[in-house]
Symmetry: C2
Subunit: 236 residues, 2 copies
DNA sequence: ATAATCAAAAATCTCGAGAAAAGTTGTTGA
DNA sequence: TCAACAACTTTTCTCGAGATTTTTGATTAT
C-alpha cells in the first residue's frame, strides 16, 4: 500500500544520495532544521569539511544546494551562513503556505481519483497511529510523527497536477519545519490537531472543496498564532 | 526617480557579480533563457569551462546556482543538462504565476503608498516609451521592452510585503521568459498589450483590487493561449 | 579617549590534476 | 545475425594547494 505514492518532485528527493556532495547536503540540511547549526551562524568551510568528512569544494557544493532551499544564504565574497529567522519571516512563510496549499488541495479534490483517496486515508491512519504513540512520550516517536505529518500533508495535495506548486510548497514546508523545531514548540503536542486532520479528510473525501480548504487554512494559520505567543527571545 | 525602487529579493540580484562563479552563472542563465543552449542539451563541464573562461569547479558552482532557478537539472552521477520544456510545463508555470501574482497584486493595492503609486506610473511610462520604439523595429529595442516589461510587473507587486511570494514569482518569471524567447514568440509584438497594461494601472491606482487582479489574470493567461497555437515541434 | 591607519591572520574563492563512474566500441561465441 | 562480455574513451566527481579578499588586532595621531 505504501508504494501507491510516487514521488514526482522537481528536485527528486526520495532515493539515495548518489554523490558525496548530496550526502553532505542532506546531513547539513538535517542539522540546520534540527537547530544544530543556529540561525545566523557562520558556516566556515574549513571547519565543516572535517566534520562532514568531505573536501572543501564538495562541501561548497552542498552549501550551494542549501541556498536553493533558502536554508543557507551566500553573501558575495563573505562566505555562507545559516539563514536568519524572524517572526515576520515565519508569518510570511505560513501565509504563503496557505496560499499554495489551499490551491493545491482544491485541485487535488477536483482531480483526485480512487488511488488518491486511498492514499489519503492511509496517510491519515499512519498519522493517527503515530499520535497514539506520541502520548506515551517514548523517544523517537516525535520524529516519527513529524515524518507522518509531513507525509499526510504531501499526500493531500498529491493529486494536484502542478509540479511548481508542489515544489514551492515543499520548500516552504522545510522552512516552517525548521521554525517548528527551533521553537519551544517541542511542547507536549500541538493542540487537538487530530480532530482538524480528521475534518480535512472528511471534507476532502466528500469533495467539499470550500470546506476542506477553509479547515486546512485555519489549521496552518493556527501554528502562526502559537508561535506569536512565544517568548520574545525566540528570534535568538 | 529611478532609485525609488529598492530591490529586497531573497536572492539579492541587482548589484554586480562579486565572484567568478556568479558571473559565469549570469552569463549561463542569459544564454539558456535566450536559447543559446537548447532545452535538454547536455552541459559538459569540460567543454563549457573554456567557453566561459573559468575553472571546472567554478563552472560547477554556476551550474548548481542554475539548478536553483530550475533552468538546469542535475542528474545523480550523470552531469547537468538544460531543463527540458513542454507545453504542460508552460501551462503550469503560467497558472502558478497567476496564483502568486494576483495575490501579490492584491496585497500591493491594499498596502501600497504614494511612492508605490509613483513607481507604478513611472514604470508604465517607461514601458509605453519602449513600445513606441518597438514599432520601428530597431535592434535592441526588443531587449529594452523585455526589461521594462519585467520591471513593470515587478513594480506592480513591489508593495506586497511577502518576500517569499516575490521570490517565487521571480523564479517563475525567468521561466516564462525562457518560453517566450524560445518560441516563435519573437513575432511582431504581443497583441494590444498596451491597453491591458493601462487597464491594470488604472484599476490599481483606483484601488480596485478585484478588477486589477482580474485583468492581470487574463493578461498572463493570454500568453498561454498564444503558445498553445504554436506549431507542435515547439517542444524541440 | 576616540577615530583613523596599517599590517597580520583567517577565510573564501579559484584552479588543475587524479580517482570513480558512465557511455561506447569492438570482439567473441552461439 | 544477434546477444553478451570486455576493454577503451569520455565525463563527472573529488581533493588539496595557491591566489584574493575580508576580517581582526594593534599602533598612532588628534
Amino acid at each position: 500500500m505504501n508504494d501507491l505514492v510516487t514521488s514526482t518532485d522537481l528536485a527528486s528527493e526520495a532515493d539515495e544520495p548518489k554523490t558525496l556532495a548530496e550526502a553532505a547536503y542532506r546531513q547539513l540540511r538535517r542539522d540546520i532544521i534540527e537547530g544544530v547549526h543556529r540561525p545566523g551562524e557562520k558556516l566556515r568551510v574549513e571547519h565543516l569539511k572535517d566534520q562532514y568528512e568531505v573536501g572543501a569544494g564538495t562541501l561548497r557544493e552542498a552549501l550551494q544546494l542549501l541556498v536553493t532551499d533558502a536554508l543557507v544564504v551566500a553573501q558575495g565574497q563573505r562566505g555562507f551562513r545559516v539563514a536568519p529567522i524572524s517572526l515576520d519571516d515565519f508569518a510570511d512563510i505560513t501565509r504563503t503556505r496557505v496560499l499554495l496549499e489551499t490551491s493545491a488541495l482544491q485541485q487535488s479534490i477536483e482531480l483526485g481519483d480512487d488511488t488518491w483517496e486511498a492514499n489519503v486515508v492511509a496517510a491519515f491512519h499512519m498519522l493517527s497511529r503515530a499520535e497514539d504513540k506520541l502520548v506515551d512520550g517514548a523517544k523517537g516517536t516525535r520524529e516519527e510523527w513529524e515524518l507522518r505529518n509531513r507525509a499526510f500533508h504531501e499526500v493531500l495535495i498529491s493529486a494536484c497536477p502542478s509540479r511548481w506548486i508542489r515544489h514551492f510548497q515543499n520548500i516552504l514546508y522545510h522552512q516552517s519545519e525548521r521554525y517548528r523545531r527551533l521553537s519551544l514548540f517541542r511542547q507536549p503536542i500541538p493542540r487537538d490537531v487530530h480532530a482538524e486532520h480528521q475534518a480535512i479528510v472528511d471534507a476532502a473525501l466528500a469533495r467539499n472543496s470550500a470546506e476542506a480548504t477553509r479547515i486546512l487554512s485555519d489549521h496552518i494559520l493556527r501554528t502562526l498564532d502559537a508561535v506569536r505567543q512565544l517568548p520574545a527571545d525566540f528570534i535568538s
